[in-house]
């Protein structure tokens, strides 16, 4: 069943759950990239389930077929529903038409995680990147989403050739 709509839970509940998830993953991997992959996989799982929910509820069964509309949908609707606000920025790379960036100064999942000094590159927003990738792939815009520290957190979306060609 689709449920009634918009249940909410305390941010602390989510934060503690997420931090347990990060610790659990950390105990089973050796390197930072592995950890990020793991988080991204979990995010992917979440995203693939969210996709249908979204299109059913928010878009009245309609799916986006234009790339730009899809990106705008992600930046505003998706972000708002998941994180309570629009993403800060959406940019198109100058040098590569397959690459887009979504920039977020302070992603939800990073709010509560203090990154240990020796793991400086760790970005738990890899989890969000996984969600994003699942949603884009599910909507038939195959892409790879990676996460970087740049002006806050930047999600780099690299679409397949096929997406640009059409």
């Amino acid at each position: 069943p689709l449920g009634k709509g918009r249940p909410e839970v305390n941010i602390a509940t989510f934060a503690l759950l997420f931090s347990e998830i990060v610790q659990y993953c950390q105990n089973r991997v050796y390197t930072v990239p592995e950890l990020q992959n793991k988080l991204s996989e979990l995010g992917y799982h979440v995203g693939s389930h969210l996709l249908d929910l979204f299109f059913l509820r928010e878009k009245g069964y309609k799916r986006e077929i234009k790339l730009l509309n899809m990106l705008l949908f992600v930046k505003s609707n998706l972000w708002k529903t998941l994180f309570g606000k629009e993403a800060d920025k959406l940019e198109h790379a100058n040098d590569d038409e397959r690459t887009y960036y979504i920039i977020e100064k302070e992603p939800l999942v990073n709010k509560f995680i203090s990154v240990p000094k020796d793991k400086g590159s760790l970005n738990c927003a890899a989890f969000t990147a996984g969600i994003l990738e699942a949603i884009l792939n599910g909507a038939n815009f195959p892409a790879k989403v990676t996460v970087h520290w740049h002006k806050g957190t930047t999600f780099m979306i690299k679409f397949d050739e096929s997406v640009i060609a059409r």
Partner: protein, 180 residues
């Protein structure tokens, strides 16, 4: 239908579905990582426990709940304040034992299990076991040793989810040396 997306979220809240699905992703991962359901249950309880011992501080700081004088009061606080604050639900407290040391929390709409179906062959999995761990962790931090178990589960075809809490003993304060 765009009503939802036009509203700015409360900064102290997150989307419940994000929470539900994130929990689901975790359980799915654990099911993959461990060989049997009992191990998954144990791991969930452990994670819940870790959450509980941190959650209680947040709870005590944010609510004006003083010390509970008996287990009945504890039960009320757990359901009306604790569950309400962290999961947005208020379980019904019932099935008291005559001695007043055991009760049940009855949950009708378990936010953890929305969209969930247990896969075949996982009959021993207590999907919501993280709640047991969290309750145990919280109560331990206020000097109560309590046994917490899921005795009925909607995912297993029961009409309601029931968590049974049994008071075992009061934990003595372990004071640091030199203080009393």
């Amino acid at each position: 239908m765009s009503r939802q997306s036009n509203r700015a979220g409360d900064p102290r809240k997150v989307n419940g579905e994000l929470f539900t699905l994130t929990y689901g992703a975790l359980v799915a991962q654990l099911v993959k990582d461990y060989e049997n359901d009992e191990d998954v249950n144990r791991q969930l309880e452990k994670m819940g426990y870790n959450m509980g011992i941190r959650l209680i501080e947040d709870f005590l700081a944010r609510s004006n709940v003083g010390r509970c004088h008996d287990f009945r009061e504890t039960a009320d606080v757990i359901s009306k304040a604790g569950f309400k604050m962290y999961l947005g639900i208020t379980p019904v407290v019932s099935n008291w034992s005559p001695a007043g040391d055991e009760f049940s929390l009855l949950i009708e709409n378990n936010p953890l299990t929305e969209f969930v179906e247990l896969p075949e062959g996982h009959n021993a999995l207590n999907y919501s076991n993280i709640l047991c761990g969290a309750l145990k962790g919280c109560l331990e931090m206020v000097q109560m040793d309590v046994d917490v178990r899921i005795v009925q589960d909607q995912l297993k075809g029961d009409s309601i989810t029931e968590i049974r809490l049994k008071f075992i003993k009061r934990l003595e304060d372990a004071l640091p040396a030199g203080e009393d």
